[in-house]
Symmetry: C2
Subunit: 214 residues, 2 copies
Amino acid sequence: MDYNPTSRNKVKRIPKRGHYDQKTIFEVLDAGFLCHVGFSIEGQPFVIPTAYGRDGDTIYLHGASTSRMLKHLETGAPACVTVTHLDGLVLARSVFNHSMNYRSAVLFGNCVKLEGEEKMHALEVVSEQILKGRWDESRLPNAKELKATSVLKFVIEEASAKIRTGDPGDEKEDYKLPIWAGVVPIVPTYHAPIPDPVLNEGIETPESVKGLFE
Amino acid sequence: MDYNPTSRNKVKRIPKRGHYDQKTIFEVLDAGFLCHVGFSIEGQPFVIPTAYGRDGDTIYLHGASTSRMLKHLETGAPACVTVTHLDGLVLARSVFNHSMNYRSAVLFGNCVKLEGEEKMHALEVVSEQILKGRWDESRLPNAKELKATSVLKFVIEEASAKIRTGDPGDEKEDYKLPIWAGVVPIVPTYHAPIPDPVLNEGIETPESVKGLFE
């Protein structure tokens, strides 16, 4: 399925980097769990980082019931959810052709507040997106905790991905310059887990955490 | 210097994580070079990832002159610039107390378009924020390239930082549970540089790139 390019989601700059198919967009979304949510209150834009989970063409967001962002979004106000992976510095011979390798997805839509079973399912989706397997290892939310948590469903209405990969591109006449050019990859890396200092004895590193290092 | 908390920049959720002093906010900004810019066109919020450079209380943004984002921002429309560093997964015994370690800064202000010397200075600031020393190694922008580039100055009007560090916090009664808890640090890591396949022979890795691995 494709999202048709409209004036809202069309990639205008360097159109060849734009993608509108769900497969490409979902791959960008599935490679992360941190998004930046944009909303506007009385003309003032806000951009807030938060975790997300994807389930089909739905993005789940969650947070404290008292969160200004969630209280605003649950009114169904227009929102933008952006996910960005920075993959490398692209160093060209000219300053002008310096760039970055990246994969980003920009989603447009509105939110609906969830309750009951759907709310619990959404929390599981977010948790599993952050760390697969952790949900079943943890003590699940109780009624009081669920009450203190808002969970929203953001249905993707329009979307695009923008992706740059590969080597630098320079002006033809610059290739003769004695200037180094190339790519420096950037990879978000998990370091060795730090157990809670008050962890009870005899509790081993769980499968979910081990899975990050496989 | 401090940014006074107002209804716009005050950290409402978990106020102890909020910071309003320039020192803390600038440290968050100086630790990165990728921001998410929020703006709103006819009520529709947009969130776009882009590079930035900081110089005092000014953030410089740049891009193609034809960029929709820059053309909108140069009108002085209200904008939000957010920088986020994800530092780790915080795994608690309960799902509810799962969290992340992070440092984020949310800035509010407006943009002004730059020309002439200030424009060139701003481009150098952005370049140096991405990779220190690279500006002097590269072929500098010529008149045609400068014309194709828009550079904006975003003066920070209000700002806040939000920071979480350290171990998980669980409900008192959950500490006895046989569930692993702790932190998994996440560190963006530079990998070995990949020279442009058509790089002329005898050009060594430059100091700027070596500096990333010191």
